[in-house]
């Protein structure tokens, strides 16, 4: 699917790991903002201002590192310690030797390769379905405006008001036996893929973006005789790359992070996602093996974050600034 490759190409092109996420599109405005914030530049550049600035900077860097990086450091090194060492008081700051044994053991005991593979399959499929289903739907609602379109949109957005937790059980029963069709989707990837596509928030984001595409652009193509599908394919999708990136990442990350839903619909230990697999086996594992498995389970999402930082942050802003 060309639209998908288009989406994934973009971040790859501009993906320096952990690069400063400055949107390159509007550098001028950015500098201007940097120029003037709540603290006045005169104050800042006074002798006292500079002292305060450097102090605050140091405090913030140190405390952020302590609060957000140190726990992760503790986790990564904790998995290199023996179980005896883990309960030692006071604890050792560095593991006595660099050992990946616990990681290897976690990988083998919990069958993490399988679990990660499953999760990748669920996330990947959910991504394809979400894009195919939500993009077409949002386009129809935004540009084709069918009869009752507003009602459909309202019903879709209304699902945002219902917490997924609350309808968990009936949703489960539905997945077990689809009404009218009688298909049983439990323990199949479909149980993750299709509900992932029923996402009112994605529809909302996409529709809002499509709304902002100038009508004239599409009308020109229409006059040339292009069908709506063709317009969607060759005009709308190429210019919607930013929002497609946002939706893609939100979808993949959500599937990867989800807990309660896969807990219910993927009961086979061979079909479990990595979060569920670890949580259900956590009770029996030696502490260091458990910690190692936590590290392994977080690597994919952190890697996604490294690579797609800019899109993720754009998604956040898109999601909330205008509601």
């Amino acid at each position: 699917m060309p639209n998908l490759t288009a989406v994934s190409k973009e971040p790859r092109r501009s993906a320096p790991p952990a690069a400063p996420p400055v949107p390159p599109k509007r550098p001028r405005r950015k500098i201007q903002q940097e120029f003037r914030t709540v603290v006045s530049p005169h104050q800042l550049n006074s002798r006292r201002g500079r002292a305060v600035y450097w102090t605050v900077l140091a405090v913030v860097v140190v405390s952020f590192t302590a609060a957000f990086v140190f726990p992760l450091y503790w986790m990564v090194t904790g998995a290199m310690k023996s179980t005896e060492e883990l309960v030692q008081i006071p604890p050792t700051f560095l593991p006595p030797e660099f050992s990946l044994d616990a990681y290897a053991e976690a990988w083998e005991l919990m069958d993490l390769g399988l679990l990660l593979g499953n999760t990748a399959l669920y996330a990947g499929g959910a991504w394809l379905f979400t894009l195919a289903i939500d993009v077409t739907a949002a386009y129809a609602l935004s540009k084709l405006r069918p009869v009752l379109g507003k009602l459909v949109l309202a019903l879709m957005l209304a699902t945002l008001m219902i917490p997924p937790m609350v309808i968990m059980l009936p949703a489960y029963l539905t997945v077990k036996e689809l009404p009218l069709l009688g298909w049983d989707l439990l323990n199949t990837p479909w149980a993750i893929w299709l509900p992932a596509a029923a996402n009112g928030f994605n529809i909302f984001l996409l529709k809002r973006f499509f709304d902002s595409i100038p009508r004239e652009l599409l009308e020109a193509a229409e006059i040339d005789g292009a069908a709506p599908a063709r317009i969607l394919w060759s005009i709308v999708i190429p210019i919607s790359r930013p929002i497609l990136g946002v939706v893609s990442i939100l979808t993949v990350v959500n599937v990867w992070r989800d807990f309660v839903w896969p807990l219910l619909v993927l009961t086979d230990s061979e079909k479990m996602s990595v979060s569920i697999g670890i949580a259900s086996l956590s009770s029996q594992m030696p502490q260091n093996v458990l910690i190692a498995s936590l590290v392994i389970a977080s690597i994919p999402t952190i890697a996604v974050f490294f690579l797609f930082q800019r899109h993720i942050m754009a998604g956040l802003t898109a999601g909330s600034l205008k509601g």
Binding site: T136, Y172, E177, W183, D184, L194, A227, T267, S280, Q284
Partner: protein, 463 residues
């Protein structure tokens, strides 16, 4: 635009739309076929398909291998029965998914259930009546009293496959370190308290006595202690709470003293079954209430140093809480499936010399033989004697690890779960348990009175 042009365009559009969404609209068919349907197939003439659960998890390699062996052998022996699927979720009874699986028809034909949930499943009609079929089981007549747990109104809804009375599990190594005699464990609660104090004095991280306080296991162990002291949780007619008594108070008082006066219980709460097991396996905990199966669980599932652990009888016990588990049959199973399912239970769990009672194989497979359970048959029945003989001949564990429990538990009557609402009652009793373990100023009389009122409300409403 011409009519045909329109049609062509519309067709194209539809095709495109379908191309984009057809995968979503119309391709759920395939997965439906992969799923095992425990309820549907199986006619009298043809082969019967069943599903089973409680396959040992991958972390328990030895038992998993023997289980697989048994599955193959069983199907060879019964060529018309096909075990379509064996589920290996751990723990075998998973409350998170049980109800959902039953609702979704995903529940296995033969499913594992631990004693606290048996009453509830019978009460709510979620297990098949197997009364007409049990006559076909060879060893059924030899069952001891544990079968009573699966009976309701004269009907039988399941078969116990594992049963044991509660005792006191302790760590010999920790005892020795603390200067206690591991061959002479505590016999009274005062002894327990004194021993716990000595163990906790070994230093930080040492816990003299570990106890549950949440997720319904707190109430479950309260019940075990209470039964031991001669008390009861609900009245014999099942309509009133009966634990607000001197016995109930004694249970909490004892815990409170150990926790706060002696500071011998550590400050960590053990909120669920694995948490305490893991702590016990960690080698710094002295004692806990538990049945002989705890030792095997510690060895097989929690990688503990097995030889360090011993189980003795519950101190001052007047009655023993009957722990254990068994199997029930999916209420939606066909008669053929019920028959096949019972055959599997019989083969795997109830035939001396086969399945879990194949002690020759277990010995060779680095599994423990010699622990005094499962205790399923009356001592003087043929099955009971055969099991005992096989077990003694092939024993590979030190019988000393269980001898004190066997000796001390003799003649003490067994007592079952407090009725079909056991789990709700345990949830209520978690509160006093966690209260005495977390608050120094916990008012035991008030806690018991509150819990009593709550249980009474519950029973009245259900009544």
């Amino acid at each position: 635009m011409t009519r045909s042009g329109y049609r062509r365009t519309a067709g194209l559009l539809l095709a495109t739309a379908l191309g984009l969404t057809a995968s979503a609209c119309g391709s759920g068919e395939k997965p439906a076929q992969d799923n095992a349907r425990p309820t549907a197939e199986g006619s009298a003439a043809g082969p019967v398909s069943i599903t089973v659960n409680c396959m040992p998890p991958k972390t328990n390699k030895a038992q998993r291998a023997t289980f697989q062996e048994d599955l193959d052998a069983f199907q060879k022996l019964n060529p018309n029965i096909k075990v379509e699927k064996a589920t290996d979720a751990f723990p075998c009874y998973e409350p998170r998914t049980f109800e959902a699986k039953l609702a979704g028809g995903q529940l296995e034909t033969v499913f594992y259930v631990n004693f606290p949930n048996v009453g509830r499943l019978m009460e709510s009609g979620q297990a098949a009546d197997i009364t007409p079929y049990v006559g076909e089981l060879k060893t059924f007549k030899d069952y001891n009293a544990s079968i009573e747990i699966f009976k309701k109104d004269g009907k039988i809804y399941g078969l116990p496959t594992d049963g044991y009375g509660m005792g006191l599990v302790y760590n010999r190594e920790v005892f020795t370190k603390a200067g206690l005699d591991p061959n002479n464990p505590p016999r009274t609660w005062a002894d327990v308290q004194a021993a716990a104090k000595k163990i906790a004095a070994l230093g930080p991280g040492y816990v003299g006595f570990g106890e549950y306080s949440g997720n319904n296991v707190g109430g479950w162990h309260f019940t075990a202690s209470l039964y031991g002291r001669g008390g009861d949780v609900i009245s014999p007619d099942g309509e009133k709470a009966a634990f607000n008594t001197p016995e109930g108070k004694a249970v909490l008082e004892n815990l409170k003293q150990m926790r706060w006066t002696d500071n011998s219980m550590g400050s960590k709460l053990y909120i669920d079954w694995p948490a305490l097991m893991k702590a016990m396996a960690g080698g710094k905990m002295g004692m806990m209430i538990g049945a002989p199966d705890v030792l095997i669980g510690l060895r097989n599932d929690f990688q503990a140093k097995f030889e360090n652990y011993t189980v003795t009888s519950l101190p001052e016990a007047k009655a023993l809480f009957n722990g254990g588990a068994g199997y029930m049959i999916n209420p939606k199973a066909t008669p053929e499936q019920i028959r096949a399912g019972l055959k599997w239970i019989e083969y795997e769990f109830l035939t001396p010399g086969k399945g879990q009672l194949d002690y020759v194989r277990a010995k060779g497979a680095n599994l423990t033989v010699g622990q005094p359970y499962p205790d399923l048959y009356g001592a003087d029945t043929p099955s009971g004697q055969e099991v005992l003989k096989l077990r003694t001949e092939n024993a590979n564990v030190d019988p000393g690890q269980f001898a004190l429990w066997v000796e001390g538990s003799k003649g003490i009557p067994a007592k079952a779960e407090p009725g079909p609402y056991a789990q709700e009652i345990y949830a209520i009793l978690d509160t006093p348990m966690s209260a005495v373990l977390t608050r120094q100023d916990a008012d035991i009389d008030k806690l018991l009175a509150d819990a009593e009122a709550k249980v009474n409300t519950l029973l009245e409403q259900k009544g």
